[in-house]
Amino acid sequence: MEKKNYTVSIYTENNLGLLSRIAAIFLRRHINIESITASPSEVNDVMRFIIVVNVTEDQIKKIVGQIEKQIEVIRAFYHTQEETIFQETALYKIKSQSFLDDHSIQDFIKETNARIVTVTTEFFVIEKTGKRKEVDELYDTLKPYGLMQFVRSGTIAVTKNEMPISGILEKFNTTNSIS
């Protein structure tokens, strides 16, 4: 079976230790996590993990099954890249001098919908949000100008179709916690 990038969305109780439980599921199967983000979800007290991995569909199904087994996991889903709208954010720090020396940089920024976040006498910080490929392209473009620092976030994603989680979470929110 062909390996693909899958985005796993996991809705959980906000509990200490769950991250290591979830990470252990991947670790045990020798699956490298390409990207991971964790943050509060649209529902109060419910956390959402978004994990991107490159695996086969068979693997991802089993992994999601194991994730859902965890006591504090409410639901877990997986989606292909085509089924999601996903974005990354990156910050590029560049010497101010290069900026002044070569005006074409400013054009790149405009063309790629990046924006300047901070300007000091020493450096500029540019921010770009987009698909991984776009972030990479800007990286390649800016590299010759002397990148002082570069950092990118994990992927965040929403599905194109309606997520069945919405109803579940709504109900979830109104039922009592641990009884």
Partner: protein
């Protein structure tokens, strides 16, 4: 120590409050716990101090090693169906629980482990006897939690018991910092009856059951393979009714053993690496394979590429993650087997499958000739393991609990043991933990004091937890211990013989005088070296009112057959 005086003052001021440590005991009482197994130490001392106060209500068994505590709790749980409880201190005490927790996890045994932890102000500082037991036990627990505040104790322990026993059972670990044990709280207890993010088992989908029934009703050569799920779901009677109504030959996994009486005419034996010939061979001939509460362990399936490819597979399973995990299932039936089998029963047509069943009988005849008769052959000078098991059957009349360790003797105990009642076969199936049986038998006997409990152990595994003889002596638990001494790590030696050119690397055992050791623990003992002494010795042991140690010198290089070599198909099972 400062914390201690502070919290004790508080207790005196507020009559309704108790210390965290006392709350732990009160929680156990609320959960109906009567017996716990453990070992004290600095970080759990407040709890032990309270145990002293409550000793007329909770029986604490001081094992000689924390591993013994977990296995005893497991034995207790497996036989009683209740949650077993093990207690240990932080650091080395906690890490000593790990093997038993892993064992309980893979064999779905309900267990709650309570560990002490260093004070919360010291967490993460590499304090004396600090270990990240929550981190260590994460992959081997159904759930775990570290309590740092006394107020959390009732809610978390209630949750721990609920999680351990509900759905597919498993071990839970609760780690409690020492300051949380000392601090006080207003104690109220409410049993946990649900957790919003946790569904213990899926709801039954009647359509799934109907589909399965249709396939079963049309099957020509159906085969049932049942596992421990039947026992955990309390569905033994239903299984029997299903088997009888549809007339389906039924085989068991090692943990399913005793769910259906051994002598039942439709019981066709064990599947898997050392299972019976017919059910293994015919797995690759049946047209419908009905898996009930079993998880297609690799020891059961052999090479998956050649496992029941011709059959439609129906899987009755409580844990959705097990469906399609190893074997592709055509008809999953999710839910608690007690519910699903109940619905199935009404939909099944009465059937006989006589010809198909005869195939099992024919193949058993062949197995009998090539294996069983040799295993019971009394013309050879050396005693065979199977003979000892048969003698135990003779005196137990099939009513004993047999607890086996891991190795050749385990296979013989399971293959030759006779069981009329459920929850009578206790063994370490998924993890294959040597050292399991002695402490597990102790726990089992405490769960069913009215029944005979016999531990069958190899000379290797015996020495892994031999110190528990001390616990047996001190607590006077009348468990029967049979060590089948072949002077080898027999199972490994067998593999060396068959697959490593008989190079017996580190499998020979020069053993101590086991009888003297048992005598040192003041146990009744006996040793059998001649067949002529065997019957009388087993009789004496079975009739003893006290704990009893029996060593039997058995044939040194006997092998366990049938056998499916690793990587081979189940139908490539060897008889010799």
């Amino acid at each position: 120590m400062e914390v201690k005086t502070a919290s004790f003052e508080k207790v005196e001021k507020k009559a309704m409050t108790v210390s965290g440590a006392e709350a732990v005991i009160k929680c156990l009482l609320e959960e109906g716990v009567e017996t716990i197994y453990g070992y004290p130490g600095g970080a759990i001392m407040p709890v032990y101090d309270e145990l002293f106060k409550y000793q007329d209500k909770i029986h604490h068994v001081l094992t000689r090693h924390e591993q013994g505590a977990t296995h005893a709790a497991q034995g207790y749980a497996r036989v009683s169906g209740k949650v077993g409880v093990a207690v240990a201190t932080s650091g080395p005490g906690a890490t000593n629980l790990v093997t038993g927790i892993a064992d309980a996890m893979i064999d779905s045994t309900p267990m709650v482990c309570i560990t002490g932890q260093v004070g919360s102000n010291l967490l993460g500082s590499d304090a004396f006897q600090e270990t990240d037991i929550v981190g260590i036990s994460t992959p081997i627990t159904k759930w775990n939690y570290q309590i740092t505040k006394a107020e959390e104790i009732p809610e978390i322990i209630a949750k721990a018991f609920y999680i351990a026993r509900s759905g597919r059972p498993g071990p839970v670990l609760v780690d409690i910092t020492k300051d949380a044990q000392f601090a006080s709280l207003d104690f109220t207890y409410k049993k946990c009856s649900g957790i919003r993010s946790y569904k213990p088992y899926p709801e039954v989908n009647l359509l799934e059951v109907e589909r399965a029934a249709g396939v079963i009703n049309n099957a020509k050569k159906p085969l049932i393979v049942f596992g421990q799920g039947v026992i955990l779901g309390g569905a033994e009677d239903l299984l029997k009714k299903v088997v009888e109504k549809a007339g389906i030959p039924s085989a068991w996994t090692i943990l399913g053993l005793s769910a259906l009486p051994t002598d039942h005419p439709l019981n066709v034996g064990m599947v898997g690496m050392h299972g019976n010939y017919a059910p293994n061979l015919l797995t690759n001939e049946c047209d419908v394979l009905i898996a009930i509460g079993m998880r297609f362990d690799d020891r059961v399936t052999g090479n998956l590429e050649h496992y029941a490819k011709q059959a439609k597979i129906i899987h009755f399973e409580i844990d959705p993650a097990e469906v399609n995990k190893n074997v592709h299932t055509d008809y999953p039936v999710l839910g608690n087997v007690k519910e699903t089998l109940n619905s199935l029963l009404d939909l099944l047509k009465e059937n006989q499958h006589t010809e198909w069943h005869d195939r099992f009988k024919e193949l058993y005849k062949e197995e009998y000739k090539k294996v069983v008769s040799l295993n019971l052959d009394v013309s050879k000078p050396d005693i065979h393991m199977a003979e000892v098991i048969q003698q135990i059957n003779e005196f137990s009349k099939g009513d004993a609990v047999i607890v086996s360790d891991v190795g050749q003797h385990q296979m013989k105990a399971c293959r030759y043991g006779k069981f009329n009642q459920t929850r009578s076969n206790v063994t370490s199936g998924g993890l294959g933990t040597m050292g399991f049986a002695l402490p597990a038998a102790m726990g089992a006997k405490m769960a069913v004091p009215e029944r005979e409990v016999v531990a069958v152990i190899g000379d290797g595994g015996y020495q892994m937890t031999i110190q528990e003889l001390g616990t047996i002596f001190q607590t006077k638990i009348p468990v029967k211990i049979v060590v089948l001494n072949n002077g080898f790590l027999g199972m490994v030696r067998q593999w060396q013989q068959l697959f490593f050119d008989k190079r017996y690397a580190s499998t020979e055992m020069i053993n101590p005088d086991f009888v003297t050791i048992a005598k040192g623990y003041h146990l009744k003992t006996n040793k059998v070296t001649e067949r002529s002494e065997l019957k009388a010795a087993v009789k004496e042991m079975m009739e003893s009112k006290e704990a009893y140690f029996l060593e039997v010198k058995v044939e040194q290089e006997e092998n366990v057959f049938p056998m499916i070599p690793t990587g081979a198909a189940v139908s490539d099972i060897l008889l010799e």
